[in-house]
């Protein structure tokens, strides 16, 4: 494959599009699919056929505003249709020329769409995730072909470093630095791993990227493989994401067919292949050394670092391990340049971040915004605020390793450092909004239960500490705790976070620490007055607000 051949495929795909510009794009990503968008697609296809309309019906990825699904977009006008039902098919197809039915229209002028900047999600909802040609038409694989034929691996690492991209899995380690380390480590065999074990409850960014634009992740991994000198890649996906696994499988087959995967890619010496490994539903496998153990077919228990995977990872070989979203950024960075990417975002956190906005917020869905946007802009402008006349209480980021951020910090710019300062973390990108019907002690207990049952049991602070903390929090929520229990809880938080082996244990106390920091009143109310102001816990007396 040369750049000319690539351009040939792209122009053929574009020509097909120009021939029949009228398109009905039905979202067939998990969100809309569970609302039976596949049936809507079939109904539209049938209708188009019976009416003989000159219109193509396509299945595309996520369009973002999941709470108004199933979504259909009508091209070339670019009209978005919300809450479409099978029975609407006839009306939609009949009105293709005069414009789509008013009652189904969803404005794209609203802040939800206007305030976003798409890099990772630029193709989501636009290309058919099961057709490689459409990805190519959207400039896909261009970065790869250019990288292989025109640049050296060192130049790529340099470009990625220049972009300032940091690991999107949560910890925010500079990607360029990581690539550089693996590239410099000697060894004939190296591996590239894509961490798609999106275990944080309340996060579905990676799922959506894999379902909507899988080739972007493959291209990112291929470029990474070339840059660090690896010839084999693994994608570790959760078993809970069957659709993502299926689409990835299709993408890998298609990619092999066109020679992007395999040996001597683009007539160069570079060979690379990718294999899917399916996870077993263990949260700890998001930790890199545990994930590696799992790919090796063992129980997913972490090991102490160093040595880091960059030096000794999968089968003791140098291994590059990045998150889905990190790889998804790479093709665009190479196409548009590291400097361009670095011009987006805040001082220390460059580029954009995809968030899964959910919980008690009006516009639930997937968003991508430049780093440094404030929480208020994200939740109240893009998210449309808290529905049903309730008031905002806190936003939870970073899953079980993160914390709850209260109202006073709503004007905080979202980046790796600022979130850490207020006791939370960026995490993989779940953002769960809570209103006054949420009890913070109960939320802390919920996350502790999660960490307790997800602890792999290898080190004692995590295995026993989380269980003890859960016990203490349970006493608080059922009204049997004493003030001494609170002291003990704080002591345990300190002990577990400083002595656990891996990130899971080290961060397990975070939800408790952050809620204690901002909502200490609620803890004392539960312990002393045996009262839950949100009315969630049954700790004795009458609730003030009913849920």
């Amino acid at each position: 494959m040369t750049l000319e051949e690539l351009e040939q495929i792209a122009s053929e795909a574009r020509a097909a599009k120009e021939k029949s510009p009228c398109e009905l794009n039905v979202c067939v990503a998990a969100g809309c699919l569970s609302l039976h968008s596949d049936a809507i697609k079939a109904a539209l296809e049938k209708e188009v056929q019976s009416k003989g309309a000159n219109c193509r019906v396509r299945g595309t990825g996520c369009m973002g505003l999941c709470s108004l699904g199933p979504l259909v977009s009508s091209e070339p006008e670019g009209v978005l249709l919300k809450k479409v039902a099978e029975s609407d098919a006839a009306e939609i197809v009949a009105n293709l020329d005069q414009g789509t039915p008013e009652r189904l229209r969803c404005s794209k002028e609203q802040p939800f769409f206007q305030r976003q900047t798409s890099i990772v999600l630029e193709n989501s909802g636009r290309v058919d995730p099961e057709k490689i040609e459409e990805y190519i038409a959207a400039e896909g694989y261009q970065a790869l072909v250019q990288a292989l034929t025109e640049t050296t691996p060192a130049q790529i690492v340099q470009e990625v470093s220049k972009s300032g991209l940091r690991g999107r899995g949560g910890a925010g380690y500079p990607t360029g630095l990581k690539w550089g380390t693996v590239a410099k480590t000697g060894g004939a065999t190296k591996y590239v791993i894509c961490n798609a074990d999106e275990g944080d409850p309340g996060a579905f960014m990676d799922r959506s990227v894999l379902e909507s634009d899988p080739h972007r992740v493959l291209e990112g991994m291929l470029i990474a493989g070339y840059a660090v000198g690896a010839s084999h890649g693994y994608i570790y996906v959760r078993a809970e994401y069957p659709l993502a696994i299926k689409r990835l499988g299709t993408a890998i087959r298609e990619s092999r067919r066109l020679g992007f995967l395999g040996s001597q890619i683009c007539n160069t010496k570079f060979s690379f292949d990718i294999e899917i490994r399916i996870g077993g539903g263990a949260f700890v496998c998001g930790e890199e050394t545990a994930l590696i153990a799992s790919i090796e077919g063992r129980r997913g228990t972490p090991r102490p670092r160093p040595p880091f995977p960059a030096q000794s990872g999968l089968w003791d070989m140098p291994t590059l391990i990045n998150n889905v979203e990190t790889y998804a950024n790479i093709p665009t960075i190479l196409r548009r340049g590291g400097e361009w990417y670095a011009s987006l975002g805040s001082k220390k956190s460059k580029g954009t971040k995809v968030f899964a906005l959910c919980g008690k917020v009006k516009n639930v869905g997937l968003i991508e915004v430049p780093m440094g946007m404030t929480l208020r802009q994200i939740i109240f402008e893009i998210g449309g605020g808290v529905p049903e006349g309730r008031t905002f209480k806190a936003v939870q980021t970073g899953g079980p390793s993160g914390g709850c951020i209260p109202e006073q910090f709503l004007d905080l710019p979202v980046d790796y450092e600022s979130l850490k300062e207020v006791g939370s973390i960026m995490g993989s990108g779940g953002m769960i909004v809570m209103d006054d019907s949420a009890c913070m002690v109960n939320v802390a207990r919920y996350f502790m239960e999660f960490c307790m049952s997800e602890s792999c049991g290898k080190c004692i602070p995590c295995r026993a500490g989380t269980a003890q903390m859960f016990e203490l929090l349970t006493r608080m929520t059922d009204g049997t705790a004493t003030p001494h229990d609170l002291e003990l809880l704080e002591e345990l938080c300190e002990m577990v976070s400083s002595t656990s082996l891996c990130g899971l244990g080290q961060s397990a106390p975070n939800p408790v620490i952050s809620t204690l920091r901002y909502f200490r009143d609620e803890y004392t109310e539960h312990i002393v007055q045996k009262r839950c102001r949100a009315g969630v816990c049954e700790c004795g007396s009458v609730a003030e607000v009913s849920a």
Binding site: L35, P201, G430
Partner: protein, 165 residues
């Protein structure tokens, strides 16, 4: 490593064992294919029983203790046969905030079993999940593999009622 070691015979003439064998062959009977193979067994048989674990362990030359360890470590694997129907309640944060624990309690009450159990008649299994990634449709449940969005208690009870008889 000697490659001439004899592979154990298939546990029965059930055709599904050949599919399981196929997965192992595709991975060259390498030990790291353990999890992949167990996925195949569970996909086709619904659960991992003793003969299955023994067969896979012997075929891949891993100790039975390791196969058992892996099978019990990962939540996705189950050693008990599932019911005819499965009701999965997502307990991810978004679902939890929107009342998933009340839904689970309602399901437990309606079926008279706890999460992770199967009704005595083997009709319904009730499972809870950490997060199925359908946060935009919270609370979300999966009835027999089909995701249901914004589930309410009456809908849940109605569905479970419909599975009876």
């Amino acid at each position: 490593m000697p490659t001439s070691l004899k592979k154990p015979p298939l546990p029965s003439d059930d055709k599904r064992w050949r599919i399981v064998n196929g997965t192992m062959r595709r991975h060259g009977f390498a030990r790291d294919a353990l999890i992949e193979t167990l996925h195949t067994v569970q996909e086709y048989f619904g659960y991992l029983d003793k003969p299955a674990l023994k067969f896979v362990a012997e075929s891949l030359r891993v100790p039975l203790s390791q196969a058992y360890g892996v099978a019990t470590f990962y939540h996705y694997f189950t050693l008990k046969p599932p019911g005819k129907h499965t009701c999965l309640v997502c307990l991810g944060t978004a679902c939890y905030i929107k009342g998933a624990s009340q839904l689970l309690a309602a399901a437990e009450q309606s079926l008279n079993i706890k999460a992770g159990e199967t009704t005595i008649d083997g009709n319904v299994s009730l499972v809870s999940a950490r997060c199925i990634g359908s946060c935009s449709m919270a609370p979300a449940l999966i009835f027999d593999g089909e995701t249901a969005a914004n589930v309410t208690e009456p809908v849940l009870r109605g569905k479970l009622e419909g599975w009876k008889d």
